[in-house]
Symmetry: C2
């Protein structure tokens, strides 16, 4: 690399000014060139990826991580397809958000502009490198990418290809830079680059995100962890409750919008909880249940192979696995109180046929996405029709929930006068 | 007080849930009750303020700070008037920002919701206490207010009055709490209250703001410091240039949107700079000029009483006083480069009759407000027609420039289904 993070960020700022002023045509041409470069350099990228995987295996990395790290032709096709969809997306830059004639006849408008320099710290998934780079270029932002050290060779090969694409269309290679992932100092330097990095987005496990949130001196968008609840209200349809619960827990248990906790009204638990427990256990889910539910669930299952007693810690756990906590509540108020206490403000669902309960739930649950009678698994930029997604924000500042292209933009007031001064 | 900051923030979270669900009528009734309480308790508030002022004088506090700290009947009238205007402002909560039917027929809408718990750390201006409290209540947010220690007794008296107004209309007094200002630990605790405070807004001097930005583990909105430039382009009208420059520098030099630096095209400096220098000096402004301008300005003024040689440090200085730096540039590109290097991204103006120069300036200056042919002094929520202002953001995340009521809101996706699961 040669340059340290501060030098890289300064170069990115210079490049960002040029990129911000570029036309949609130039930015789309860059995305097309990126697709071509990923094809031209495919052999080199796959070779680098094999070297990363070999090194990761030698370190005893588990196969789940290896799978996230691995690239093949099919995955590269998917990555290129995402870039193709980005080209088709409308430009968010230049959008006039509001405008009026203000005091003394000054014409004011608020327009959407790029954020400037975006920093991203993530783990060993090389597809994120391309996704984030593509979204940054589309939205006119320079980006500093610090991937996981396990994916270092893959990321370097990918970024080499993408940089050559940028220079092919006359943009600076500094728009898109790999930050040295071989030591923690580079991540710290990104967190401390106040005035140089406009927003830092951590994507990955809870530990990474917490570390960035606690240590950053630059603005951060917190993403990801999801302790999502499915609350079965007394007026729920039993079939719908089972479908939604099983889908939210089992369809893809390792992702942030999967359910981690089942809440059920005490009045219907004797009738419905045995059925729900059997449906989950049929899909190999382990239940960590409160003391009120233990005997009931035990009787339903007949054994304890998929049964545990929940401790208070279970209410806050994000298992990301075939496991769910189970807690009985006394109506919608009690459910909302539990969710607002233990949830991570990601995705929360109620199953009910009762109008008032649904209204109370959506009004009072404090989360980025609140569902009535649908699975939490829909929380996703693509599903919401927002286009490419840079992550799912679990904070309330700037962006909340799935973040589309506009999450990487800011605004600028432009004021046009004819000599006005303030009296 | 009794409670520590963490306990206060927890109580605020509980209160915030009730407040968020309250109707506009209740929130406006609270604002009316606040106006009444400030009238009923006026004697107690003014007595507390006199005690603060006496203590501040005994400490040798300068009279400029004493003036900011001081309340009288007229200032309290102004404070009550601001609350009256807040009552008239439309509700921002519940606004539907977008909505559509997404996959599988789920109806999605994104609605504006309160931020939750807002923290504010500011200096010794008791009017900020009421302004911030009013804006928070109007937008459905609980707020923790940590004013300057010099204003402690004033703030306690004000917050006592405001809390009684809240309970009068059935809201919790915990919506609005004074944080102990007698030690730094309370500020640190606010900065570290991750998960309890949704956004922290520092308002005050550069030192306070830097300290919050560097130390906070909660989301921050950076406000305030303004190193604003007036750039006189070669095609500027001379009268307009003088008017705008003098207004931007002199109309109220102590505020963040006042000009701190004059840039002038080298080609017109020999003709125009002497006139501009004389106009500024006639208003007692001191000029810190670059070496190219020194002899020119010296000849124009005839002496050095208002003349200094600028050092590189001057380009980044926010004087907040009758002083301005002066630098010659080589056209609009050179001016923009200087501004983007030394500015604080607050308010920047060009004076020109040239279309291309104006377009280049507004497109490429990286600041919250960019002016063509008008004074930087207009950057202000009221002037922009945004209503009550909570501060001026100089960051790009979440809010940029003057922040109106919606800056204290977030959004929530609400999804209504009929049993949909993800396939």
């Amino acid at each position: 690399m040669g340059r340290n993070v501060t030098e890289q960020a300064r170069a990115a700022r210079v490049a960002a000014v040029q990129l911000a002023a570029s036309s949609l045509e130039v930015r789309n041409a860059a995305l097309r060139a990126m697709i071509d470069a990923l094809t031209d350099d495919q052999d080199a990228i796959l070779a680098a990826n094999r070297a990363d995987i070999e090194a990761a295996r030698a370190k005893g990395t588990n196969e789940q991580l290896i799978d996230r790290l691995a690239l093949d032709e099919k995955r590269l096709d998917g990555i290129r397809q995402a870039l193709t969809e980005l080209i088709a997306a409308p430009d968010v830059l230049g959008e006039v958000l509001c405008g009026r004639t203000i005091t003394a006849g000054i014409r004011m408008k608020q327009v959407r502009v790029p954020m400037g320099v975006v920093g991203m710290i993530y783990e060993a998934r090389p597809n994120v490198t391309v996704d984030a780079a593509g979204i940054a270029i589309k939205t006119g932002n320079a980006i500093l990418l610090r991937g996981g050290s396990l994916a270092r060779q893959s990321n370097d090969a990918i970024i080499d290809a993408l940089q050559s694409a940028l220079t092919d269309v006359g943009l600076s290679a500094d728009c898109l830079q790999a930050v040295d992932a071989s030591n923690r100092d580079s991540a710290t330097a990104m967190m401390e680059a106040h005035g140089l990095i406009d927003v830092l987005i951590p994507r990955g496990g809870a530990g990474l995100i917490r570390s960035v949130v606690e240590n950053a001196k630059v603005p951060v968008i917190e993403t990801g962890t999801g302790n999502c609840h499915v609350y079965i209200h007394a007026a729920a349809d039993a079939d719908m409750a089972e479908n939604i619960l099983v889908n939210a827990k089992c369809q893809r248990p390792s992702v942030c919008n999967a359910a981690e906790s089942l809440l059920i009204d005490r009045t219907i638990a004797p009738e419905l909880l045995p059925r729900l427990a059997r449906a989950l256990v049929a899909r190999d889910v382990v239940l960590a249940v409160d003391s009120d539910s233990y005997d009931l669930v035990h009787d339903a299952l007949g054994d304890t192979r998929h049964l545990e007693r929940a401790t208070d810690e279970d209410w806050g756990r994000e298992y990301l696995d075939l496991k769910i906590s189970v807690h009985q509540v006394d109506g919608v108020r009690s459910a909302v109180e539990h969710i607002n206490r233990y949830g991570t403000k990601h995705s929360e669902a109620i199953v009910t046929a009762d109008w008032d309960a649904a209204q109370y739930f959506t009004a009072n649950v404090d989360a980025s996405a609140v569902y009535v009678n649908a699975s939490t698994r829909f929380t996703d930029g693509g599903m919401f029709g927002l286009g490419a997604e840079i992550g799912i924000s679990t904070q309330k500042l700037h962006a909340r929930g799935p973040m589309g292209l506009s999450a990487l933009t800011s605004t600028k007031f432009i004021l046009e006068g004819s000599g006005q001064v303030r009296g």
